[in-house]
Symmetry: C2
Subunit: 170 residues, 2 copies
């Protein structure tokens, strides 16, 4: 689901302001990374993002991708996820509903959901442990029922050696 142009403009402005405030420059590479994440709305890993940019004819180095992601995370335009893998994935976060994730163990597809009860849990935990909770990460892992879910990712990644495709890591 692509982001509407007005929102993309708004995000560009936020990023520009953030950079200006820190005396950093607005380069075409930085904007390209921002756009790649906002236009697709997918949960991309650094390498997929790098490939996507190259496909789009934008030439950036991996170092710049990582540098820019760091900046985007700092100004809260992007969040980094560690969906049970050593490799991180990045997702746009501005003007987008706060949500958690549901991941298909077989095909790797990611779904998003939101449940208000999680806030109650967070409040309870904060009170019991005397914590000031800044953020949370909730991911559910299971088997989806899409007709085109063919365990593709599980097969590739794990050589189909168990009843389940991906190795679960919590």
């Amino acid at each position: 689901m692509p982001v509407p142009q007005t929102q993309l403009d708004e995000v560009h402005e936020l990023f520009a302001d953030f950079l200006k405030a820190r005396g950093q420059r607005q380069t075409s590479e930085r904007v390209a990374v921002l756009d790649a994440l906002y236009v697709s709305g997918e949960h991309l890993d650094a390498d997929a993002l790098f490939a996507r940019l190259k496909e789009d004819g934008v030439s950036v180095s991996r170092a710049t991708v990582y540098n820019t992601l760091e900046l985007l995370i700092e100004c809260d335009l992007v969040v980094k996820h560690q969906f049970g893998k050593t490799q991180a994935r990045y997702e746009r976060s501005f003007a987008y509903w706060q949500h958690d994730h549901l991941l298909c163990i077989d095909c790797g597809e990611i779904f998003e959901f939101c449940d208000p009860r999680l806030q109650s849990i967070q409040d309870t935990v904060a009170e019991i442990y005397g914590f000031e909770i800044a953020q949370h990460s909730l991911t559910m892992y299971g088997h989806c029922r899409r007709e085109d879910c063919e365990r593709k990712e599980g097969m590739e990644a794990r050589g189909n050696r168990g009843k389940e495709g991906l190795r679960l890591e919590f």
Copy 2:
């Protein structure tokens, strides 16, 4: 909190049975890795586990540590966590309450909690998305109030360059 001897025996037996069933050998190294995780009950990363074993006078290679962890995960005696870092942590999982985690952004301390409402959320999500949910991972990140919480890990890991120590990754 160390595990009682009777439980350690039980875990040894489970592991022995698992290995025998697969025609694999019970070596002292494998048992040592299992014990290291069960005796301390901590959430160790592979390297810390390696170091702990060396401290205890057990000489195992990193490769064996990783191999054994894989086995222990397969027989559900250990779970792997990816607490928003590229580096995984491992925790014993047998005869231990099912719980989620609360992590101090400043000192890195890990607390455990359990809230029955999460099961309700899981059921709802499963129904709405038509998923058969196998597992979930919930981690809350915040600031603890221990008097000896001195942001130590944040300082080391990130060079104290922000208002918060650890980089959050969700």
